[in-house]
């Protein structure tokens, strides 16, 4: 159980990355599966070659920035559909990751990693809560960074890009640049998360990223289904908690006798449930913020063509109640 919580906190960085693309930019980014492994591979190879583990983790982050940038360029400059752009980068990364590692698996068990000290003193994965405490601080630090970023001038431009791109362009922001930046940051976090998980578990593996996007989406959706996403603060916090919850659910499912190979279908079913349940009649009575965004307002088209379905207006009845991030 403690291991599950610790892993959940490390995967939380990945989930925060998915939050940036999926919720802020409204972009389902499949780069994640490849980028997560890239982070693990870069950090793994660096550490094996004697690079300081902190520097190695930083290098993983930078590699992730690069991966996200490529997906962003494919999408915005080559006009490739977002899903396809992500898949293309993901597949390309699979080859690149094997090149980086030189073999399918790198062991870090005898290496100096960010966690070897904690591991040696028995504070990780065992019966001590010190590991959870320290990893919580790390996750909260990144959470705070994301929340702060999303309240800066730049962060507001990024949020507006996902919310109403026509509008933000009319205020001088290149939505292409915002998407590329968001994808880069997102995948930087994903790769950093991959590097930390590799160091935590003591190996990097060329397949460790498979299904990662679904795990990330599950964390975002489950966390926000429980805690809501009324504000950026709440929404991002929910993602971190969602990541821990997700790992705990998987842990319990395995404990209940499911085979480790079953975890992928558990993830898929969890995401489907979290997406479908709120649409059912019974749940409609739940306050709107707990429900998935129902395309609240398709704002974008505006002035380019006359809009035949411009909402009629009434003060008594607010246009909608879209209070989610």
């Amino acid at each position: 159980m403690i291991t599950a919580v610790e892993l959940g906190l490390l995967y939380a960085l990945m989930a925060l990355g998915v939050y940036l693309t999926f919720r802020i930019l409204e972009f389902a980014d499949l780069t994640v599966d490849g980028g997560f492994t890239t982070g693990a591979a870069v950090a793994g190879v660096s550490i094996v070659n004697g690079v300081d583990p902190l520097v190695a983790s930083g290098a993983a982050f930078v590699a992730g920035l690069g991966a996200g940038t490529i997906t962003g360029l494919l999408h915005t400059k080559a006009n490739i559909d977002g899903l396809l752009a992500g898949i293309l980068t993901q597949i390309a990364l699979y080859s690149i990751n094997l090149r980086i590692m030189g073999k399918p698996n790198i062991s870090l068990l005898r290496e100096d990693t960010l966690f070897s000290g904690l591991r040696a003193s028995g504070h990780l994965g065992g019966s001590s809560y010190v590991g959870i405490g320290i990893l919580s601080l790390v996750a909260l630090a990144f959470l705070a960074l994301i929340i702060w970023f999303l309240h800066t001038d730049l962060g507001l431009a990024m949020r507006a890009t996902g919310d109403n791109s026509e509008m933000i362009r009319s205020f001088g922001v290149s939505t292409d640049a915002q998407k590329i930046l968001g994808l880069a940051l997102s995948n930087g976090l994903v790769a950093l998360s991959g590097s930390l998980v590799a160091q935590y578990q003591g190996f990097a593996d060329s397949t460790m990223g498979i299904g990662m996007i679904v795990a990330g989406l599950a964390s975002v959706i489950i966390g926000q289904a429980i805690f809501g996403r009324l504000t950026v603060f709440r929404a991002a916090f929910a993602v971190v908690v969602g990541s821990v919850l997700y790992r705990v659910v998987i842990f319990l499912a395995l404990k209940a006798g499911l085979n480790p190979n079953d975890t992928k279908i558990i993830s898929a079913v969890l995401v489907v449930l979290a997406l479908v349940l709120p649409q059912m009649g019974f749940f409609k009575r739940i306050p709107a913020r707990f429900r998935p965004r129902n395309g609240a307002q398709t704002a974008a088209t505006g002035g380019t063509v006359d809009d035949p379905v411009a909402p009629s207006e009434s003060d008594a009845e607010p246009a909608a109640a879209p209070k989610e991030q």
Partner: protein, 263 residues
């Protein structure tokens, strides 16, 4: 301030769907001109505004704003010179951001957006003052989501966001058309006030002839991609709605006789 020279735009050229939206348009707005634009559906009014704003590239001709050639700039590159309000009240604001955040986005028009917190205490105060001029109590709702506002409130906010940073050109495309008459009147009044206060050079498309006559210092009428009437000053002031209707009838008559001639 705004100089359009020889602007032409054809959609789907060379196909059965070919649409000549603008034909060799010349238009010059002096600083602080407030030009109202009327014309039948499909006359090319929106296309004209989209070309000024850089949302659409003209096939021919040039656009200059304040002496600067902006013909080849796209919409976000032109945005530092141009404030815009669209017809759809949802189009000009971000619904999942608060009023203060929307205003902060607008305040950085054309400026670099860096890693400074967007809503500072000083800005809050400034936003409150700006919102108070709308006289809708929005100054007390800085932290509310814009998606919760009514269409009229959103359109008023859009108008404020488009104007309070003093853009060189203000473009309004039937921005009161989606509102009920009462709200439309309010937004119309706010438009006149804001244009006056910020000394804006304005191009306003409207379907309301009364509005086209009472507002601004110059009126143009468009038809089939051409400017077929351009009146200003006293000549405009002396005009009444029936005069405009008569002008419309005239064109339609001409069209009919054209067709009979061809037949």
């Amino acid at each position: 301030m705004l100089q359009l020279t020889g602007i032409s735009k054809t959609f789907f050229p060379g196909t059965v769907n070919e649409r000549r939206a603008l034909v060799d348009i010349d238009l010059h707005l002096k600083e602080r001109d407030f030009v109202t634009v009327i014309g039948s559906n499909g006359a090319g009014k929106s296309t004209l505004l989209n070309i000024v704003s850089g949302s659409i590239r003209a096939d021919q001709g040039t656009v200059a704003i304040g002496g600067r050639d902006v013909t080849k700039l796209t919409d976000f590159q032109c945005a530092s010179y141009i404030g815009r309000v669209f017809q759809n009240p949802s189009a000009g604001t971000a619904p999942h951001m608060t009023i203060k955040e929307n205003l902060a986005v607008a305040q950085q028009r054309g400026r670099r957006r860096g890693l400074r917190l967007a809503v500072t205490k000083a800005r809050r105060e400034q936003f409150k003052q700006e919102l108070a001029t709308l006289e809708q109590g929005l100054e007390n709702r800085l932290d509310d989501w814009v998606g919760l506002l009514s269409g009229g409130q959103r359109q008023s906010l859009s108008l404020l966001m488009a104007t309070f940073t003093h853009p060189q050109i203000l473009l309004l495309d039937e921005h009161t058309a989606a509102l009920d008459p009462q709200r439309a009147a309010l937004v119309t009044r706010l438009t006149a006030e804001l244009v006056e206060r910020h000394h804006l050079t304005t191009l306003m498309v409207t379907h309301n002839m009364e509005q086209a006559l009472t507002m601004g210092n110059r009126l143009i009428m468009m038809h089939q991609g051409k400017i077929i009437m351009d009146v200003a000053g006293e000549e405009k002031a002396a005009m009444k709605v029936p005069d405009l209707l008569a002008a419309f009838e005239n064109i339609r008559g001409a069209e009919l006789s054209d067709r009979t001639l061809l037949a």
